[in-house]
């Protein structure tokens, strides 16, 4: 699900109505306007969609956060039968939903970065770095953030995000070569197969990572 995060006072006022008291406190405490707006619009969209998918009232919906910051939904105090994951960058927000299994999504606005070399050092494996170094300009930026979002989506599915050493694994060569999706196991999560898929748009890179659930014949559960 795509969420437009462009500044818009009317939409932000409508979104604020969806937040509960704790979320309003969190929203008000954001020190910077960009992240504050991103949180508000994504949380309201998440609440509206979860209520529709689960069939509950907004007031019955709550959230719980894991030790590593990954939220999950609760309805009337019980775990909701749905997985979700949220990502935002600049004007773009994405929310992924699935009935069960590990799930991660990431989006990055394709804007030039002052520290692109440092970011590459921080997340790319040796082969990935060599391939990205062979490209230039806009092609390099797009290719890099395609890999970045795939790696972050995978690590968010794992439950931790990018402050795990992302250089310890590489995106499958077939996907680096242009295939839209592929499967791999993370060294941090042995025995679990994840599917990663590039889902970017014209001015953003994005990726979705889902656990391959064997009971479904090896295909990951459909996201909604």
């Amino acid at each position: 699900m795509y969420v437009d995060l462009t500044a818009d006072a009317d939409r932000e006022a409508e979104a604020a109505v969806w937040l509960d008291e704790e979320e309003r406190g969190r929203w008000a405490a954001y020190p910077y306007s960009g992240p504050q707006r991103q949180f508000l619009l994504c949380r309201a969209a998440l609440r509206a969609t979860l209520c529709e998918q689960v069939g509950c009232a907004n007031e019955a919906l709550g959230f719980e956060t894991s030790e590593h910051g990954k939220p999950s939904a609760r309805v009337g105090g019980a775990e909701a039968p749905i997985s979700f994951n949220v990502s935002h960058s600049g004007r773009h927000g994405l929310i992924a939903f699935a009935p069960d299994g590990l799930l991660g999504v990431d989006v990055e606005e394709l804007a030039g970065r002052r520290n692109l070399d440092l970011l590459m050092d921080g997340v790319l494996g040796e082969n990935e770095r060599r391939e990205i170094d062979s490209k230039e300009g806009d092609e390099q930026l797009r290719s890099f953030f395609r890999l970045w979002t795939m790696k972050e989506a995978l690590l968010k599915a794992y439950g931790k995000g990018l402050l795990v050493d992302a250089t310890t694994f590489e995106i499958p060569p077939v996907v680096r070569g242009g295939a839209p999706r592929g499967q791999l196991e993370l060294p941090q999560l042995p025995g679990v197969t994840l599917q990663v898929e590039g889902i970017g748009g014209e001015d953003f890179a994005a990726a979705l990572a889902r656990e391959v659930v064997p009971e479904a014949g090896g295909e990951p559960a459909e996201s909604r």
Partner: protein
Amino acid sequence: MAATEERLRKLVDDNLEIEGRAPGSPLDLERNISDAGVSSPDIVAFWKLVNEEFGVDISAEQFAELLTPAALIAYLDAA
């Protein structure tokens, strides 16, 4: 501590792009930068920049435990 804080603030001012943050504004020492909405590329860049600026070799996993400026300053001052 003040000198370390000032060097960190300058690293943020010179390198990170956080919508709504005015360059030169003070760091909230007790606030986790992830909870403040700093993006993942900015956090990864900040981690690498801290290693360069202070001549340390903090791993990604260690840095995940140092996401408040106060914790990071204490670590760097003790290094």
